[in-house]
């Protein structure tokens, strides 16, 4: 079971790299926000899987709950920012 969990974690990390490509090339800031949000959700799963690999899930699960609770504050806050400040990019020359 441990090799399987190890493989699952590696697969999640590779997925994370794929999502990160979108954050690199994302034309707008909001695309980046979206992909970072997905990376955050993947981190919850990764921490739970790491807890199973260490076979001390009772210790790791608190971190995962903390993430699950706090993951969406950043998204909410950024959304509020864009509702006040209705321009997407400060200038046209935003490069990545």
């Amino acid at each position: 079971m441990i090799p399987f969990l190890y493989g699952a974690g590696l697969f999640l990390l590779i997925n994370m790299v794929l999502v990160f490509i979108r954050a690199v090339q994302g034309p707008t800031v909001i695309d980046r926000l979206l992909s970072i949000n997905v990376i955050g959700t993947k981190c919850i799963n990764l921490i739970v899987i790491a807890g199973l690999i260490f076979s001390r899930l009772d210790m790791f699960v608190d971190i995962a709950i903390g993430y699950g609770l706090l993951n969406y504050i950043a998204a909410v806050c950024t959304a509020k920012f864009y509702q006040h400040n209705k321009t997407l990019s400060p200038d046209s020359g935003a490069s990545s």
Binding site: G9, L13, A23, V29, G51, T78, P90
Partner: protein, 345 residues
């Protein structure tokens, strides 16, 4: 230590840092740094440093991004760094190279990962691991080290948070009497700020109604069970602060001030530090050293010297949690309203 996880997440962290440098819109950089802290938490967790990972998770996901976003909201969004001075850039590049080489040189002198012969493992850690349960009845060694063996350190760390809040608050705060005197300049500053109107979304509001009580109860659980599971005063305090910030973000600024007014914020921040230092002073008066909790069994009911240490640790953690919670909230309010305390993000 899980090697494959470490390698991929560390290289992703490097990519994040480089990407954040090259984005000109500061919002983009802030958001990319969100991913940086997520991945850093995974690295800590994969190396077994659970308490550090918990701190990183709460600070990175809960308050770090929010602070930076509210700072950008009250300042500017464009990276105004001038890129045309070649000589200056070359000089900076040289400085960075020298510092980097020095740091890499230091890395070779560090002990190997998990080296049993390194000084930290032969002297201190062994003592803590052997004696923690006997002397304090606390299974989580990190908590007993932080709150008991190195109580002075933690007290001054709490003071650092306190000073950070007081610094930000007193630097940014604009008194109303002063703005009246400077009435000629205030209209121009008003114009540079973005036009303000209250927006609130029903979905976000209802979701935060549902989440906030559970968040707070979870935070109190973290504070109360710091002896057995990762976490403790600091992490619980950050989650409490983040829940208050979530309420403030999903409503408007008036509601945020009605939860905790300015006066209460300053009072409670000081109260947290007072609880910590007060426990130390009580020990002092009972005939022990400052922060020597074992003498507290004279006034705590039904405890011996060992349980007194365990209970006093809980009291200390409550003080830390109070200071951290209220100072996080106060820093958010100061930053997002640009010190005016009338309207904000």
């Amino acid at each position: 230590m899980i090697l494959g996880f470490d390698i991929i997440s560390l290289s992703l962290i490097l990519l994040c840092a480089v990407l954040a440098l090259f984005i000109r819109d500061l919002m983009g950089s802030v958001i990319v740094f969100g991913a940086y802290s997520f991945l850093m938490c995974v690295v800590w967790a994969c190396n077994g440093a659970i308490d550090v990972a918990f701190t990183e998770a709460t600070v990175g996901a809960g308050v770090g991004t929010v602070f930076l976003v509210s700072t950008i909201y009250s300042t500017t969004r464009i990276d105004t760094f001038k890129k045309n001075r070649l000589l200056k850039q070359l000089f900076m590049f040289a400085v960075v190279c020298v510092v980097g080489v020095l740091l890499l040189k230091t890395v070779t002198d560090l002990p190997q990962w998990g080296d049993a012969g390194s000084p930290a493992n032969t002297h201190l850690s062994a003592y803590y691991i052997e004696n923690s349960i006997d002397q304090t009845h606390v299974p989580n060694v990190v908590t007993s080290v932080l709150a008991d063996y190195r109580g002075f350190d933690t007290m001054f760390e709490t003071c650092v948070v306190f000073v950070a809040f007081i610094g930000i608050f007193s630097l940014l705060r604009i008194r109303k009497s002063k703005t009246k005197n400077a009435a000629t300049t205030s209209p121009t500053t008003e114009l540079t700020l973005p036009p303000h109107q209250e927006v609130d979304s029903l979905i976000i509001k209802t979701a935060s109604h549902l989440m906030v009580p559970f968040m707070q109860l979870f935070a109190l659980y973290v504070v109360a069970h710091g002896h057995y599971s990762p976490g403790g005063g600091f992490q619980g305090g950050v989650i409490l602060g983040a829940s208050l910030i979530l309420l403030a973000v999903s409503y408007n600024f008036k509601k945020a001030l009605s939860i905790l007014s300015e006066k209460k914020i300053i009072l409670l921040v000081s109260l947290g530090v007072l609880i910590y230092a007060g426990i130390g002073v009580i020990c002092f008066f009972l005939g022990g050293n400052f922060l020597d909790y074992s003498v507290l069994h004279k006034i705590l009911p039904a405890t011996d010297t060992i349980m007194a240490r365990s209970h006093a640790m809980l009291g200390v953690e409550i003080g830390v949690a109070l200071t951290v919670m209220v100072s996080m909230y106060g820093i958010y309010l100061s930053l997002s309203s640009n010190g005016r305390f009338d309207k904000g993000l």
